[in-house]
Symmetry: C2
């Protein structure tokens, strides 16, 4: 299996894209997966193409602006996929959403045998060119922001004060992202499990406090 996020290649398109190109989406999804493993700068376009079983020429056909464009779309793709899941599961309340968020990442780390993580984080930890703000990095910031807003809104809907809700949402996203990386280094799920436990009791306490 090539990654939980990447396996969600379905119809539905991201923006205007009226037609076609099943391989285009395959490339984007594969890029998200590969970037989540290797990091952005360490992943070559040739690897990306091979991973998606697409010819190198096709990547420049679909993404004429090159690697940056592909990376940006990959980050948006992963960010959107996670946001969709989060939005759906948060309907059953903040704790249910939190659990879905946690088990989503848990699945990615375990199924990849500690080799894959979060592509959004991977893009976030690479230095941008002096004084610039590459689109992929902006997309990463937007993904984090989306997740936080979804979580915060769910908390607010369940009676948590606005400021506190934003704070808790940031804590959730940050600690889960950090824990994923720690799990990969330690080759153990303990960090994410411990963080999950702490977050669950914290949220539960805030909700009926």
């Amino acid at each position: 299996m090539t990654g939980v996020i990447a396996s969600g290649v379905r119809r539905g398109s991201t923006a205007v894209a009226k037609s076609s190109a099943p391989s285009r989406e395959r490339i984007v999804a594969g890029a998200a997966d590969l970037i989540s493993r290797r990091g952005l700068n360490a992943t070559s376009i040739r690897e990306l193409a091979k991973h998606a079983k697409a010819p190198l020429g096709s990547t420049y056909h679909y993404f004429p602006e090159g690697k940056g464009q592909l990376a940006t779309e990959a980050v948006r793709y992963a960010g959107g996929a996670v946001a969709r899941i989060l939005r759906r599961e948060l309907d059953a309340g903040p704790v249910a959403g939190l659990r879905a968020f946690l088990s989503l990442w848990r699945g990615i780390v375990i199924e990849s045998d500690f080799r894959a993580g979060c592509p959004v984080l991977a893009v976030s930890v690479e230095e941008p060119p002096a004084g610039e703000m590459p689109p992929a990095l902006t997309a990463a910031a937007e993904a984090f922001e989306d997740w936080e807003q979804l979580l915060a809104e769910a908390l607010r809907k369940h009676g948590v004060d606005g400021d506190q809700a934003r704070g808790l949402a940031a804590l959730i996203v940050a600690s889960v992202e950090g824990a994923i990386a720690m799990c990969r280094a330690k080759r153990s799920m303990q960090p994410l499990d411990r963080v999950a436990r702490q977050l669950e009791t914290l949220i539960a306490g805030v909700l009926d406090g």
Copy 2:
């Protein structure tokens, strides 16, 4: 300025190393800084040497096993530097230690204008070669483990139950690491500030709860 961690190049050596080589330490410290910006695979030995104003040949003189050895020492160097600060400040209690931990990373992110982060995290998010466990990744896991243990022990010393202490320590390290990355993506200190607030009230509550 070249990074808070890297600027701590002082006498004192890490292990046996009885003598010499000021430039050896400069290379290691510079490597920690550069890796924290660019990531491991994306940082070349030539850049590392130039960054430390050392000739390329010297890197292979001091680190005959090549890039992996240098990366490993850089991770250990950074991990040890943070652990030393943590150990010192935790003497004044868990909240004081937490504050020091937070403001240490805060300084690194701000002084680098959101370009540097945590070298330990940077190494953790790169895929190891199939079935292997590179020494640098092991060093990253050890650094995380050290920080967690220091925090957990301080909490225990102040009356927190053992399991809870380990959980809180994991939450602290994970959320701070994640928040650093989010700050870089957003080019804003808000994530780390929010996480700091949440962690402080959480710890304070646990301590006199």
